[in-house]
C-alpha cells in the first residue's frame, strides 16, 4: 500500500528536503505551501495523513488542524519549531493525533505515520461498557444507542482500555500501543487525548465514570 502524505509547510527548503527523505521512506508526498492550499487540497484529494507546520502565514497551523478535524478523522501530525508546552497542547487540543518537533528526522516521522495508520487490530466481538457499545470491526461507537464520532486515535485508545477489561493500562503501554512510541517521558500527548475522549464518551467529563485515572499508574475502564 502506498501512503499518501500531504505536507503543509511554508519553508520551501524544509518542504523539499522532507519530501525527498519521506519519499525514501516509501511515502508519496504532496506539498502545500500555505494553510489555505493545505485545506483546499485535502478536501479535493484522498490523503492518508496530513503533516501541518504550526507557524504558517495566513491561516495558521492550528486553524488548519481544526478545519481538517471538523471534516473527519484524517490522521494529523503537527510539526512545530516551538516546544513550549502551550503550543504543543494547543495543537493537540485542536485535534492533532501526534506532534513532532524540529529538527525532525524523516525516519522518525515515518515511524509515527505508520503507527497512526496501523490496522485496527484483530477482529473482536462488540464490547459493552455501561451505556457504551464499541464495535471494533466496523470502527463504530454508540452511546445509549447514539453514534459517537471518534478519531482513529481516540478509537484505538478506547479499544486498548476496553480490551484490558478493567485492568490498569499504564501510560507507557498506551503510548506504545496507540502511538508506537518506544518510550517517551512526555505524556502530555496522552493527557490531551484522554481529555478529548472523555468529552465525547463520558456523561460528565469532569467526573469520569468510564475512563478512570489510576494515580501514578495509568488508566482503566470503569465497569
Amino acid at each position: 500500500m502506498c501512503v499518501r502524505v500531504l505536507l503543509v509547510e511554508d519553508d520551501e527548503r524544509i518542504r523539499q528536503a522532507l519530501s525527498l527523505a519521506l519519499s525514501d521512506e516509501g511515502f508519496t508526498v504532496d506539498e502545500a505551501s500555505s494553510g489555505e492550499e493545505g485545506v483546499r487540497r485535502s478536501a479535493e484529494e484522498p490523503f492518508d495523513v496530513v503533516l501541518v507546520d504550526l507557524t504558517l502565514p495566513g491561516i495558521g497551523g492550528l486553524e488548519v488542524v481544526r478545519t481538517l478535524r471538523t471534516r473527519g478523522d484524517l490522521p494529523i501530525i503537527v510539526v512545530t519549531a516551538r516546544t513550549d508546552p502551550g503550543d504543543v497542547i494547543a495543537g493537540l487540543e485542536s485535534g492533532a493525533d501526534d506532534y513532532v518537533t524540529k529538527p525532525l528526522l524523516a525516519n522518525v516521522l515515518a515511524a509515527r505515520v505508520r503507527a497512526l495508520l496501523r490496522r485496527r487490530g484483530p477482529n473482536r466481538e462488540a464490547v459493552r461498557i455501561g451505556e457504551l457499545e464499541i464495535r471494533p470491526q466496523e470502527g463504530l461507537v454508540h452511546r445509549a444507542g447514539e453514534r459517537v464520532h471518534l478519531t482513529r486515535t481516540e478509537f484505538r485508545l478506547l479499544l486498548e482500555l476496553a480490551g484490558a477489561g478493567g485492568r490498569i493500562v499504564t501510560r507507557e503501554q498506551l503510548l506504545r500501543k496507540v502511538w508506537g512510541y518506544d518510550y517517551f517521558g512526555d505524556t502530555r500527548l496522552l493527557d490531551v487525548h484522554m481529555r478529548r475522549l472523555r468529552r465525547k464518551v463520558e456523561a460528565d467529563p469532569d467526573d469520569p465514570s468510564l475512563l478512570l485515572t489510576v494515580r501514578g499508574a495509568g488508566y482503566r475502564i470503569g465497569s
Partner: protein, 432 residues
C-alpha cells in the same frame, strides 16, 4: 572559633549581671551577718556579766550548772585554785589565751566542731568564761548565704536569657537577609530579601535586591538568547538532517574522497542537530515544571531500559516526587554516556537508602580519573578520544535536571574497573 554575636552579647551581659549582683549580695551578707553577730554578742555579753556576778567569788561546779543556758553551753571559771567547769566539757587550753589573760573580751571559736561565742569576764582572782552555742545563728546565716548565692546566679542566668532573646529578635532581620541571600546564591533568582523596617537594614536589603534583579534580568536575557539562537537553527537544521539522510542512502554511489567527505558531512550534521536539541533543552531547564507527580523510579527505569540494549537491572521499589520527563532524560543521558565512553552500561540499580534513593548506572569502561570527576559535568567537556560524537552537553543536562529534581549526582570508581554514576533523590516511599 569565634563566638557568634548573639553568644557574645549573652555571655557579656550574663557576666556583668553576675558581677553587679555578686557585689550587692556580698555587701548584704557582710552587713546582715555582722549585725546579727553583734546583736548576739551583745546579748551574750550581758548574760555573761550577770552570770559572772551571780557566780560570785568561789563558785562550785553545781552552782555554775544552774547558770547554764542550754545543753551546748559551758562555763569555766579559772581561778587561782584551779579550773571549775560546768556544762559541756571544754579544755581551757583550747580557749584563746587573750581571753584568759586579758579579760574582758569575746571571740567566735569552734569547739568540738561546733561554732560558739566565748565571753570572758574578770572575776576576783580569776576569769569567768561562758561559751554559748551559735548553731541557731549559723543556721540562719547559712540560709541567708544560700539565698544570696542562688539569687545572684539566678539573676545572672535570667538576665542572660532575656538578653539572648532580645538579641535574637534584634538579629532576626539579619538572619532573614542571610537566608534570602543564600537562596539567590543557590540559583533561585526570583528570591528577594524581605522589606526591612529598620532604616539601616532597609538600605542593605534594597541594594542586595537590586543586584539580584539585575542578575535575574541578565540570566533571563542569556537564556532567551540561547533559546532564540537554537530556534532559529531549527529550520535550517531540519533541511540539513533530512537532506543528509537522503544523501547517506546514496553514499555508495560516491566513491573515494567525495564519499568520505559526504560521510563526514552527514555525521557532523547529525551531531550538530543533537547539540542544538541539547542546547534547547538546557535553555529550557530552568523553566517552571508541571506540578511534580509521584513517579515509581523502578518502573521508569524498566521502561527506559526496555527500549534500549539490554542491561542487567537491580531494582527495589522506590517512589520519588518529580517531573517524569526530567527523570527520563537523566537516565537516558547516563545510558548514552556509558555507551559513548565505556562500551555501554553493565548494571542499572535503584536502591533506597534511609530517606533517599540512589539510582546508579555502572559501566566497565576506563573509569573517570579523580581530577575530572567534577569537570565532566560542565558544559562542553568531552571525553579524550577525538571521535566523540556527543554534544558535550549530556552530563551537564543530567546535573541540571537532577538539581531541579532536588537531588545530586556524582561519579565514583567501580571495582574492579569502570565507573558508577550515582543520582541521589529524596525518597517518598519504598512500598512500590
Amino acid at each position: 572559633m569565634r563566638l557568634t554575636l548573639r553568644c557574645r552579647v549573652t555571655l557579656l551581659s550574663g557576666l556583668g549581671l553576675l558581677l553587679v549582683t555578686g557585689v550587692l549580695a556580698f555587701t548584704t551578707w557582710t552587713l546582715v551577718s555582722g549585725s546579727l553577730l553583734a546583736q548576739r554578742e551583745a546579748g551574750a555579753t550581758r548574760e555573761a556579766e550577770a552570770h559572772a556576778r551571780l557566780a560570785g567569788g568561789s563558785p562550785t561546779s553545781s552552782g555554775l550548772a544552774e547558770l547554764l543556758a542550754g545543753p551546748d553551753s559551758s562555763i569555766l571559771v579559772v581561778g587561782p585554785a584551779g579550773v571549775v567547769t560546768a556544762g559541756r566539757a571544754v579544755e581551757p587550753s583550747t580557749l584563746p589565751p587573750r581571753l584568759l589573760h586579758h579579760p574582758p573580751g569575746s571571740a567566735r571559736i569552734t569547739v568540738d566542731g561546733l561554732p560558739v561565742l566565748a565571753v570572758a569576764r574578770p572575776l576576783a582572782g580569776g576569769v569567768y568564761v561562758e561559751l554559748s552555742a551559735l548553731r541557731q545563728l549559723d543556721g540562719t546565716l547559712a540560709v541567708l548565704r544560700a539565698a544570696l548565692v542562688a539569687g545572684t546566679a539566678g539573676s545572672a542566668l535570667l538576665g542572660a536569657a532575656l538578653v539572648s532573646q532580645a538579641a535574637k529578635r534584634a538579629l532576626k532581620p539579619l538572619a532573614e537577609l542571610g537566608f534570602a541571600a543564600g537562596r539567590i546564591a543557590d540559583g533561585d533568582l526570583h528570591a528577594r530579601l524581605p522589606r526591612q523596617d529598620d532604616p539601616d537594614l532597609a538600605v542593605l536589603a534594597a541594594r542586595i535586591n537590586s543586584a539580584a534583579e539585575a542578575l535575574e534580568r541578565r540570566a533571563l536575557r542569556d537564556a532567551r538568547f540561547v533559546s532564540d539562537v537554537s530556534h532559529e537553527l531549527r529550520s535550517p537544521l531540519t533541511t540539513m538532517v533530512n537532506s543528509a539522510a537522503v544523501l547517506r542512502r546514496r553514499c555508495h554511489r560516491l566513491p573515494g574522497a567525495a564519499g568520505t567527505a559526504l560521510e563526514l558531512l552527514t555525521s557532523e550534521v547529525d551531531r550538530f542537530a543533537r547539540m542544538v536539541a541539547d542546547l534547547l533543552e538546557i535553555s529550557r531547564a530552568d523553566q517552571v515544571d508541571d506540578p511534580p507527580c509521584r513517579v515509581a523510579l523502578d518502573a521508569l527505569v524498566r521502561n527506559v531500559v526496555a527500549t534500549r540494549t539490554p542491561v542487567a537491572l537491580d531494582l527495589e521499589p522506590a517512589v520519588v516526587l518529580g517531573d517524569r520527563r526530567r527523570l527520563d532524560r537523566v537516565l537516558t543521558n547516563l545510558l548514552d554516556n556509558a555507551e559513548r565512553h565505556a562500551g555501554g552500561a553493565v548494571l542499572v540499580s535503584v536502591r533506597p537508602r534511609g530517606s533517599s534513593v540512589r539510582l546508579a548506572v555502572e559501566d566497565a569502561g576506563p573509569g573517570v580519573p579523580e581530577p575530572l570527576r567534577e569537570e565532566i559535568f560542565e558544559r562542553f567537556t568531552r571525553g579524550r578520544n577525538g571521535d566523540d560524537p556527543g554534544s558535550g552537553l549530556g552530563l551537564a543536562l543530567v546535573r541540571e535536571h537532577v538539581r531541579r529534581l532536588g537531588g545530586r549526582v556524582w561519579v565514583e570508581d567501580r571495582s574492579p574497573c569502570g565507573s558508577r554514576f550515582v543520582v541521589e533523590l529524596v525518597l517518598r516511599s519504598s512500598d512500590g
